[in-house]
Amino acid sequence: MAAISREEVAHLAHLARLAVNDAELDTFAGQLDVILQAVARVGEVTAADIPPTSHSVPLTNVLREDVVTPGLTRDEALSGAPDVAEDRFRVPRILDEEA
């Protein structure tokens, strides 16, 4: 049985905001199935009482001092933006209806 269907791949691509085409869906579904069957081997390890590791560095709550330090200027922050208007990032409309 396949671990993942073409429909699931299409749904995941939508969640990840990737407008994949039909040819890609066909290719990815087969390839992801092979990969998932292989990585599912992690399930062979019985590890009910094993704590998870998210990170190898045993540090928590790393905070900086609450003091002002120099940051990027507005022009620098906007320098790589694909579209800028009135010193801000300009984005396409985010609502369905015209405001």
Partner: protein, 496 residues
């Protein structure tokens, strides 16, 4: 010195410091070498000749003023294109960042500049560091200087090839699952992955944040250690940076170079000695270990029973983190924007941009990671992979109670011909079989040349406990004294 491009970084630093050769001459020689060979190798995505010459002149001027120069002042370096370089294009070999010039420098770049090193340019890689062959670059492949018809490894194939082809004495790589070490192995160069948290990730474009580690690429162990010392150490701008001094890596490399390993215990990982590696690779690694024994080292077989689950765990953890990290490429703050016709919504523009801007491997991993993190699958995949990570860490800790370092092949096979593994992504993932455990554990690991198999370089990997980077440099430097030096590659093809 007739050809400064053949010198070691340590020698160049000494010659520049004593005034026997100028930093500008050294930089121009390397720029000439790039002009001569890089149309064949394609290690570089961007060469900053003007910036390099200016930086070199600044070093020469400082020397003329009588300033004391550091050991690598004036020494050229190539930088993997995943590191933010202020004002210099940084693309991660992706179309989505084509032409982006960061408004800031990564911490390691600040340290490289402060050391007086000269950045030659940015090197090719698999897109967003996802791959083992540099074939997933959006800007064309890099060719292996040992055989132009074969891959240079990945993801840092450009940095390794630049160093192997004498275009630069040093380079920066980043290692998430082997992207420094595997290219080192297949190009006959040295690739060092420091302890995770030992080198700052600030300004490294994130792929898998709990694994990404910048580190040195070089032609010899001492040069790697010298660069490690420049870039290493605590950085308050990286919350996972370890607040401790850099281990004494240079001293350890010099000690190793005496060729005495009396009392050093090498752990041979039983699980990595069976099938898996090509016979030629296994034989070369066996010979290298025998050579270390002749230097006084003792070999102990150790068992790391969970290492066989490292590859599956990695290919859940890394894509999961990538799917989250790469959400930042949303067509708003930097990079590409596609389909913004005044009618389409932000969501549609975002989806079209990401579809157009990302290549196939990046898309596969984003989808895989999105799946592994989904409700209903999280416990079986991501959660279970994190438990495997704990078991692998325990395997390392148990092994290091018996031995000082672990030794294994760096990668199961020598450089393969272009196209051999692109149609089946999992076949490509197998290149990382032996490198991934150290990433999941966080400990340092280095690949050093261990001879040839069928005319192509093989790497020996040396893995050490976290923050014992000096230990791996000592063994690696000793290895250099015992293994015959490789003849430089010819920069020709074999039609492999």
């Amino acid at each position: 010195m007739t050809d400064v491009t053949r010198a070691t970084a340590a020698e160049l630093g000494r010659l520049i410091g004593s005034g026997e050769v100028s930093a500008e001459e050294v930089t121009r020689a390397h720029l000439d070498r790039i002009a001569e060979v890089d149309d064949r190798v394609h290690a570089f995505l961007h060469v900053d000749a003007e910036g390099a010459i200016a930086a070199a002149r600044a070093v020469d001027a400082a020397r003329a003023r009588g300033e004391q120069l550091g050991p690598l002042a004036g020494v050229p370096i190539a930088i993997k294109d995943v590191i933010a370089t202020k004002g210099v294009p940084t693309t991660c070999a992706s179309k989505i960042l084509e032409g982006w010039r960061p408004p800031y420098d990564a911490t390691i770049m600040e340290r490289i500049h402060a050391a007086g090193m000269v950045m030659l340019g940015k090197t090719n890689m698999d897109e967003f560091a996802m791959g083992s062959s540099t074939e997933y670059s959006a800007y064309g492949v890099t060719r292996n200087p040992w055989d132009l018809d074969r891959i240079p490894g990945g993801s840092g194939g450009g940095s390794a090839a630049a160093v192997a082809a004498y275009e630069a004495p040093l380079a920066i790589g980043t290692d998430t699952g082997g992207s420094i070490r595997q290219p080192g192995a297949v190009t006959g160069t040295v690739g060092s992955k420091p302890t995770y948290g030992g080198t700052s990730r600030y300004g490294l474009v994130a792929f898998s944040s709990s694994l990404d580690t910048p580190g040195p690429v070089s032609r010899n162990v001492l040069d790697a250690a010298l660069l490690h010392e420049v870039i290493g150490g605590h950085d308050p701008r990286d919350s996972t940076s370890i607040p401790a001094p850099v281990p004494p890596v240079v001293e350890a490399a010099r000690r190793g170079a005496t060729g005495d390993l009396t009392g050093v215990r090498l752990g041979l990982v039983r699980e990595f000695t069976g099938e898996g590696a090509e016979p030629g690779v296994a034989a070369a690694v066996r010979d290298a270990i025998d050579a270390l024994v002749k230097l006084g080292a003792e070999v102990v077989e150790v068992s790391c029973p969970h290492f066989e689950y490292a590859l599956p765990a990695y290919y859940l953890i890394a894509p999961s983190e990538a799917s989250s990290n790469l959400a930042r490429f949303d067509s708003v703050r930097y990079g590409l924007r596609v389909g913004d016709d005044g009618q389409r919504s932000l969501e549609e523009v975002m989806s079209l941009t990401r579809e157009a801007g990302f290549g196939p491997e990046v898309k596969r991993r984003i989808i895989l990671g999105t799946y592994a993190l989904s409700a209903g699958y999280y416990d079986a995949y991501y959660g279970q992979a994190q438990k495997v990570r704990t078991l692998i860490t325990n395997d390392f800790k148990a092994a290091f109670e018996q031995v000082d370092v672990l030794v294994a092949p760096t990668t199961p096979f020598v450089a393969f011909p272009f196209g051999a593994r692109t149609s089946d992504p999992y076949q490509m993932y197998l290149a990382d079989l032996y490198t991934i455990p150290s990433n999941l554990y966080g400990g340092p690991a280095i690949s050093v040349p261990a001879g040839l198999s069928g005319g192509m370089p093989v790497g020996l990997q040396i893995m050490a406990p976290t923050m014992a980077d000096d230990r791996m440099y000592r063994v690696a430097a000793a290895c250099e004294t015992a293994i015959p030096t490789l003849t430089p590659p010819t920069l020709s093809g074999s039609n492999a």
